[in-house]
C-alpha cells in the first residue's frame, strides 16, 4: 500500500509536481519519427506530462516542440501554416520558429521589436532511433542524449510502436515489473504468439508456474529475477531490468527479438505505452516485422488513424468469454498488451493504493515505488538529480540464463546484463 499523500506524489506529473520534476530530468519519448515524416509537413498535437504541446518539422528539417497555443489570442497552432522556416498562426499571421520564438507579427512594425518579446515555451526535440525524444527540464541540467540499446542499433534491427493507455502511468508501469502475473494472465502466449513461441526456455516456464523471485537493487534502478529449476541442480533465471523512471525490458526467448517498454505520462489519467522490439546483432526479418505490425508480441492493432488500440474500453476490449472458457486466453482478452491494459485500466484512472494488500512477490513494485518517491523528494527538496540519466545506467539488457544455484545473479550474469556491441542477447 501507499499512503494517500504518497500515492498523490507518485502519480501526479504535471508542472510543479515533485514527480513531474523527476520526469523532467530525463529525455523521454515524445513521438515516433514517422509522425513527422517530411520537412514542412503538418504539425502534430502532443500532450506530455499534462502540457499541451505541438510538434512540428519546419521547411528546413528542424524539429520543434512548443506550446500548442498562439501567444496572441490562444488559438491552437495545430491549424498553423508550416511555411518558410516557421509556423504561422492562421488567425492573424503571427509566425514562430522551432524554438518558440515569434519571428513575425504582421500587424506590428518590424522595427518596434514587439515580436522579439514574444516567445512560446519550447523544448528540444531530437531523433534517436525511430523516436523523437524531448527533455522538458531546466536547460542547464539537460542530460546526454538517450543511450538505450534499442534506439542505438541500426534501423533494420529495431521496431517501436506506441499506444494510448487510459490510466495513470504508474499502474501501467507497475505491470512491467510485476513478473508474477505472467504465469497467469499471459500463460497462453508462450505456445501461440509467433514472437515468443519455440524457445527452449519456454519449457521451464511451462513446467513451473510458481517461480521464486529475487529483487536486486542497482544504481539505475533494480533487477527482478524469476528463478525456476533447470537441469543438474541449476537455475533458469529470467532477469528484468527496471531503470528509472519507467523503462523495463522483458527477458528474451530464444533468438526472438528482445522487447521492452517505456511508460510516459500524457496527463495524470492517461499514458503512452511505448513498446519496442530489437535484435542486438541482426536485422529483424520481414516476418517478424509483419508480426509486430499485426499486433503480436507486445504490440497492438489500432483504431484506424489513431494510436488507440482496436480493443479498448469502449468495446469491452472485445472480450471473448468462450475463448476464456476454452483456455485460449486466461482473461478472455486477446494479446499480451491488451491483457495488461484492460486490467490496469479497470483499476480506474488513478488506482487507490491505500486499499491494496501487497504480498511478498510484490517486492519489485515496492522497491520501484521506494526508489521513485525517494528520488522525487531528493530532487524537489535538495536538487539531487535522479539515477537513470547516465549512459551507464541505460546500457542494460534483460537476460535469460542458466546459472549455478549458489551465485548472486547480478554478478554471475553481469556480462549478460550489459550492452555488448556486436554480441547477441543472452537467451535460452
Amino acid at each position: 500500500m501507499l499512503r494517500q499523500e504518497q500515492n498523490e506524489l507518485a502519480t501526479r506529473t504535471g508542472p510543479g509536481t515533485a514527480m513531474g520534476k523527476l520526469f523532467r530530468s530525463y529525455w523521454v519519448p515524445a513521438l515516433l519519427a514517422e509522425e513527422l515524416p517530411e520537412d514542412g509537413g503538418p504539425p502534430v498535437r502532443v500532450k506530455l506530462l499534462s502540457e499541451r504541446l505541438l510538434a512540428w518539422r519546419d521547411s528546413t528539417g528542424r524539429y520543434g516542440l512548443m506550446d500548442e497555443f498562439c501567444a496572441h489570442r490562444g488559438v491552437s497552432l495545430w491549424f498553423g501554416r508550416n511555411e518558410e522556416g516557421g509556423l504561422r498562426c492562421p488567425y492573424h499571421g503571427w509566425k514562430y520558429d522551432v524554438t518558440g520564438q515569434c519571428v513575425e507579427v504582421p500587424s506590428e512594425p518590424a522595427e518596434n521589436g514587439f515580436c522579439a518579446r514574444i516567445k512560446l515555451a519550447a523544448y528540444p526535440l531530437v531523433q534517436v532511433g525511430d523516436i523523437l525524444w524531448t527533455y522538458m527540464g531546466p536547460p542547464e541540467q539537460q542530460p546526454p542524449l538517450p543511450e538505450w540499446e534499442f534506439a542505438r542499433v541500426p534501423a533494420a534491427q529495431t521496431f517501436t510502436s506506441k499506444r494510448v493507455q487510459e490510466c495513470n502511468w504508474m499502474q501501467a508501469m507497475e505491470g512491467g515489473i510485476d513478473s508474477s502475473h505472467v504465469s497467469w494472465l499471459h500463460r497462453g502466449a508462450l505456445n501461440h504468439d509467433p514472437l515468443f513461441k519455440g524457445a527452449k526456455g519456454n519449457q521451464y516456464n511451462l513446467r513451473d508456474a510458481k517461480p521464486v523471485f529475487e529483487v536486486v537493487e542497482m544504481p539505475g534502478g533494480l533487477y527482478i529475477g524469476a528463478r525456476r529449476n533447470a537441469e543438474d541442480g541449476r537455475y533458469y533465471w529470467r532477469i528484468t531490468p527496471w531503470v528509472m523512471p519507467s523503462f523495463t525490458m522483458v527477458p528474451p526467448r530464444g533468438d526472438h527479438p528482445v522487447h521492452g517498454h517505456f511508460w510516459i505520462p500524457i496527463d495524470d489519467e492517461n499514458c503512452w505505452a511505448w513498446s519496442f522490439d530489437y535484435h542486438p546483432v541482426r536485422a529483424l526479418t520481414a516476418q517478424e516485422l509483419q508480426h509486430m505490425k499485426d499486433g503480436h508480441g507486445i504490440h497492438v492493432t489500432y483504431v484506424p488513424g489513431s494510436f488507440r488500440p482496436a480493443a479498448n474500453k469502449d468495446n469491452d476490449y472485445l472480450i471473448d468469454r468462450a475463448a476464456q472458457q476454452r483456455g485460449d486466453t486466461y482473461s478472455g482478452v486477446a494479446g499480451i498488451a491488451m491483457q495488461d491494459a484492460s486490467l490496469q485500466e479497470s483499476m480506474g484512472p488513478i488506482v487507490d493504493r491505500t486499499r491494496e494488500n501487497l504480498v511478498s512477490t510484490d517486492n519489485g513494485i515496492i522497491m520501484a515505488r521506494h526508489r521513485l518517491l525517494r528520488a522525487a523528494r531528493a530532487l524537489a527538496e535538495k536538487g539531487v538529480l535522479p539515477p537513470g540519466r547516465e549512459a551507464e545506467h541505460q546500457r542494460v539488457r534483460s537476460a535469460a540464463v542458466i546459472l549455478p544455484p549458489d551465485q548472486p545473479f547480478k554478478e554471475a550474469a553481469a556480462e549478460a546484463l550489459r550492452v555488448r556491441e556486436g554480441v547477441a542477447q543472452s537467451s535460452v
Partner: protein, 157 residues
C-alpha cells in the same frame, strides 16, 4: 452512442462508488535479525511503531543467535503469530540459522532481506545468499538499509 460497460465502470465518476469497507484483516509479520547490524537496525524500526510486527530478540544483545536454544519459545511464538516472516541480514552475515528458522516458519511466507549489498565483497554476498536463498520465497538485495521500513509499511506491517 451509449458507453460500454468497461468505459462507464472505469470513469473517475464511478470510482466514487467503490466500497470503502475494509477488505482485509490485519496481518502479522515477524522480523528476525540474523546478525548484530541487522539487530541494531531492527531496534530502530521497532521504535517507529509498526503495530502488526514482532521484532524478535531485540533486547537480547548481540550474539543472541548463538544462544537461540535458550530462547526458542519467544522466537516460536513470534513466528506462529505471523503470516509473514522476514529474515533480516546485512551482506556477509552467516545467517547459519536460516534453515532452522525457515523450518519453524513452514507454512508462512518467508522473505529474506540482505542489506548493504552495494559494494559488498562477492564472497560475503554469496555467503548470506547461500544461507537465505534455499528458504526464502522472496529474496531482496537492497543497496542500503532504508528499504526495510518502506517494505514493512507497504506490507501494512
Amino acid at each position: 452512442m451509449s458507453l460500454s460497460e468497461s468505459a462507464r465502470a472505469t470513469s473517475a465518476a464511478e470510482a466514487r462508488f467503490r466500497l470503502q469497507a475494509p477488505n482485509a484483516r490485519p496481518r502479522r509479520l515477524a522480523v528476525i535479525p540474523m546478525d548484530e547490524q541487522a539487530r541494531a537496525l531492527a531496534v530502530g524500526l521497532a521504535a517507529q511503531g509498526f503495530a502488526h510486527t514482532s521484532f524478535v530478540a531485540l533486547s537480547e544483545g548481540e550474539e543472541w543467535l548463538a544462544h537461540l536454544a535458550g530462547r526458542t519459545r519467544a522466537v516460536l511464538e513470534a513466528i506462529e503469530a505471523a503470516q509473514t516472516v522476514v529474515l533480516l541480514a546485512t551482506a556477509g552475515a552467516e545467517a547459519a540459522l536460516a534453515g532452522t528458522l525457515a523450518e519453524a516458519a513452514r507454512g508462512r511466507t518467508l522473505i529474506g532481506l540482505i542489506l548493504d549489498s552495494e559494494g559488498a565483497a562477492p564472497e560475503a554476498l554469496e555467503r548470506s545468499l547461500a544461507a537465505l536463498r534455499p528458504h526464502a520465497a522472496m529474496l531482496v538485495l537492497a543497496e542500503g538499509r532504508d528499504y526495510v521500513a518502506a517494505m514493512l509499511e507497504a506490507l501494512r506491517a
